[in-house]
């Protein structure tokens, strides 16, 4: 909390990112009562991983340096941190598991991580080609 400007940037970025996540979720229709597979959260997390890999590589941001600059605080920690979600991902997995769709729970759980890793790597490769 030693830099109030950075804290405000993370706060505002995180709020904005979370609002975008909610809107994308609505758009994809994950709140429809008949859809059990959390497609919205999957697309959000995988696209967020791509953008994270792309921006970090493009701007040479070391992943350990999360408090590096105001831009890092706002975009990477704030917007992308707010946009993507680990808690909803795990809740979706648990909900699928608890209603007896254990196969889907496993596909979703492992698929999110595998697709996320591939998307982040793809984002990094794209950035290296462009910069």
């Amino acid at each position: 909390m030693n830099d109030p400007v950075a804290v405000v940037l993370v706060f505002v970025g995180g709020a904005g990112g979370s609002a975008i996540r909610w809107l994308v979720g609505l758009g994809v229709g994950e709140h429809r009562k008949d859809s059990t597979f959390p497609l919205g959260t999957l697309l959000i997390n995988v696209s967020g991983a791509f953008v994270m890999g792309f921006l970090s590589t493009f701007f040479y941001v070391d992943w350990k340096d999360r408090h590096g600059s105001y831009l890092t605080a706002f975009v990477l920690t704030g917007v992308l941190g707010g946009y993507t979600t680990f808690s909803s991902y795990q809740l979706d997995t648990a909900n699928l598991y608890n209603i007896g769709k254990r196969g889907w729970a496993l596909y979703y759980c492992v698929g999110s991580v595998v697709a996320g890793l591939l998307a982040a790597a793809l984002g990094a490769i794209t950035a290296k080609l462009l910069r």
């Binding site: 992943w63 920690t77 991580v113 890793l117």
Partner: protein, 106 residues
């Protein structure tokens, strides 16, 4: 993240703590916000989608794993981080759901 340091070997402790705390709490809140529960739909949106979604992060989790896998010295930490986050996160959500369910019945 300012209060918690990375461990030797690169294990990203701050992100891990944030994600695990959010996993437990979203379970508790989810159980308290089912229809007819203690908290209404607006409160659910604020607490789960807003605050827990904001506290936790998937992009930093995946990107840290990806970068650690690229570094031979940190590969072991990467695998531990990945598997532990997913397994412990799942168990914490289930614990949270159970805890929230117990709270709701009292």
């Amino acid at each position: 993240m300012l209060a918690v340091a990375d461990l030797p070997g690169g294990f990203p402790m701050p992100i891990f703590i944030a994600n695990m705390a959010a996993a437990l709490l979203i379970g508790v809140m989810s159980a308290l916000t089912i229809p007819g529960g203690v908290i209404g739909p607006g409160g659910k949106l604020l607490l789960t989608t807003g605050i827990m979604g904001g506290l936790s992060t998937f992009s930093s989790f995946i990107w840290a794993t990806d970068q650690m896998l690229d570094n031979p010295v940190e590969q072991a930490s990467a695998v531990v981080y990945l598997v532990l986050s997913v397994v412990a996160g799942f168990l914490l959500v289930e614990s949270g759901l159970w805890l929230g369910g117990s709270l709701r019945r009292t």
